[in-house]
């Protein structure tokens, strides 16, 4: 199990994390000068530099980083880790780009925001790297602490405070549940290391009931972070109350990190699938149905996207179930690979689509009042055609209509589900996606079909947010036609 310890190599492995932490520290140290600087984007630029550095380290690791097992086996590199970390860093960059104008307009363009963002992101990356449930727990906390505070970052906004409080209390509750799960897993096997658990499970040297109970609680904790129904109720409230750039960040990052762990558990603890597959299926269906159905009733886009996030979490649970199912049914290795790469691809697709959608809202918001409701978008195609059609592309992608990345992602999940013989889930996914199409189309309809007395476009739309919109909308279409461009990244997941 243990290799010769090469401390430097191990530390080199966490350079991407260290880059973020150093960036955070630098931001803190330079807080004063930065705040005094006239340009509002100074902190953001520094944070962006940290993210870039982190990405550079990650890229430089290349294939070497794929085989590292570090710190007593608590973290390790593999393709899944690498791809998830890359996606997370890209999301981080987009989130940083969205923030400055928005926050500056509200007088909160503080370096601390970026400190929290960077540490939060490092927590998410840790979850992707983690091979030990303790590190998973610590990663979740690291991820969440930043999010709790960022949600209430604009303190004059009572809604932000409320979002923060709700998110915090429920998040802490969920962590407690998950912690107890980890405790039970530990008690049943004597270890929290996933590799060790895997071999223990194979050797059948675990106490199955305690292990299963623990695993169930861990599942619940992760489901909370990923906003899977019925553990999703924080998300609409938190999304609505949090400032737009924060909503964008937390909607994406928390989900990706949680699913990174879920995918890893589903892949590693294969022999136990028979016990928790039913629960995964239940959560998948519940999440798809609840998310999509309730989204129909939403007028507020942030809430709608929250419910859509719940639904997408459901789709991802389908992939997880398919992964487990293909293990349980002893399917060919390639189906497991497909399920994993499908899930990761979907995470990427979701990240681009959701990030892009929030970017559009941020872009339209500019320095004014938050653009939140459908009514705010009315007639956008006349005011800002590029943003409107970009949003349309993103919405169609979220709805899974070709030729968009959302469709390619959905196709992969169908693929995985069919390969894993989860036909019921596949059909359910197909049916609810019709409901989904309804509310996504409603956004398009409001923007493009409805006409208002077109007021002149608000001056000073944030350029950085505009770039995020442009990039994500283009990516949605280009990758929807040629997902192969990304397959190099995704295809090596296993």
């Amino acid at each position: 199990m243990r290799r010769d310890i090469d401390v430097m190599a191990e530390i080199a492995f966490i350079y991407p994390l260290i880059a973020l932490w150093v960036g955070a520290c630098l931001l803190l140290l330079l807080a004063r000068p930065l705040r005094r600087a006239t340009r509002p984007g100074g902190s953001a630029a520094l944070a962006g530099a940290a993210l870039l550095a982190s990405l550079a380290f990650l890229v430089r690791q290349g294939n070497e980083g794929l085989n590292v097992i570090a710190f007593g086996g608590s973290i390790a590199g593999d393709p899944l880790t690498a791809s998830i970390c890359t996606i997370l860093l890209l999301c981080g960059m987009m989130a940083v780009a969205l923030a400055p104008t928005y926050l500056a307009a509200r007088g909160y363009d503080n370096p601390e925001y970026y400190v929290l963002l960077l540490t939060s992101l490092s927590g998410a990356m840790l979850m992707a790297m983690a091979r030990d449930l303790v590190v998973v727990f610590l990663g979740i906390e690291l991820l969440s602490f930043g999010l709790y505070i960022m949600a209430g970052f604009v303190r004059e906004d009572a809604r932000g405070g409320e979002a923060s409080l709700k998110y915090f209390l429920l998040g802490a509750f969920a962590s407690a549940l998950m912690l107890y799960g980890i405790v039970l897993v530990y008690g049943s096997s004597g270890s929290t290391n996933i590799e060790a658990l895997r071999s223990a499970v194979i050797k059948e040297s675990v106490q199955s009931a305690m292990f299963a109970g623990g695993l169930a609680l861990v599942l619940i904790g992760l489901a909370f972070k990923a906003a899977v129904a019925p553990f999703h109720q924080w998300s609409p409230d938190a999304y609505e109350g949090a400032p737009l750039p924060v909503t964008a960040f937390m909607s994406v990052v928390a989900k990706i990190a949680a699913f990174a762990v879920l995918i890893r558990l589903a892949d590693s603890l294969a022999p136990l699938h028979a016990t928790w597959l039913p629960a995964v299926r239940l959560l998948a269906i519940l999440s798809m149905v609840v998310g999509n159905v309730v989204a129909v009733a939403q007028q507020n886009l942030k809430r709608m996207l929250a419910y859509s996030g719940v639904a997408h979490a459901g789709y991802l649970m389908v992939a997880v179930a398919a992964l487990g199912s293909s293990h349980a049914k002893g399917a060919a290795l390639d189906t497991q690979t497909l399920a994993m790469s499908g899930a990761v691809f979907y995470l990427l697709a979701y990240a681009i689509m959701t990030m892009g959608a929030f970017a559009v809202l941020t872009y339209v918001t500019g320095t004014g009042a938050e653009c939140q409701t459908l009514a705010d978008l009315k007639g956008l195609a006349r005011r800002r055609p590029a943003a409107a059609y970009g949003m349309a592309a993103l919405m169609l992608s979220l709805g899974g209509v070709p030729p968009t990345i959302g469709f390619m992602g959905k196709l992969q999940i169908f693929w995985a589900a069919v390969a894993g013989r989860e036909m019921g889930l596949a059909v359910a996914l197909a049916l609810v996606s019709v409901v989904a199409a309804y509310y996504y189309l409603r956004v398009v309809l409001t923007m493009c079909f409805e006409e208002t007395g077109a007021e002149p476009a608000t001056a000073g739309a944030p350029r950085a947010a505009g770039w995020v919109v442009a990039i994500s909308a283009t990516a949605v279409l280009v990758l929807g036609v040629m997902p192969g461009l990304l397959m190099g990244l995704i295809g090596m997941v296993r």
Binding site: E141, F145, I149, A163, K166, L169, F173, A176, Y180, Y186
Partner: protein, 102 residues
């Protein structure tokens, strides 16, 4: 009476955990809710220590220590949020902190 084994401790911890969980569901004061969560964490710690002893591994205790550290950081943030809410609203009753819904 039976000798006291790890199972007893775990049972006790589970009961404490359940009480804490109930508290989260029924209390209206966020500070108390937060205390209930602390109770749950403490319950987990008890189980950890008991399991560690039973398994002959120090990992249980190590984990318990980290849980405490996490709890400390959490308290800093949680109480900060609560105070911040109070400053802007003059109340922290969670039934009144209810702008976001539906």
């Amino acid at each position: 009476m039976d000798p006291i084994t790890a199972t007893h401790y775990i049972g006790l911890s589970a009961i404490l955990f359940a009480i804490g969980a109930v508290g989260v569901g029924i209390k209206r004061n966020p500070i108390v809710i937060f205390m209930c969560i602390e109770l749950m964490l403490n319950a987990a710690n008890l189980a950890l220590v008991a399991m560690g002893k039973h398994l002959g591994s120090i990992s249980g205790q190590m984990m318990a220590i980290f849980v405490m550290a996490v709890a400390a950081a959490e308290v800093a943030i949680g109480l900060g949020i609560i105070v911040s809410i109070f400053r802007s609203r003059e109340t922290i009753d969670i039934d009144e902190v209810n702008l976001l819904k539906l």
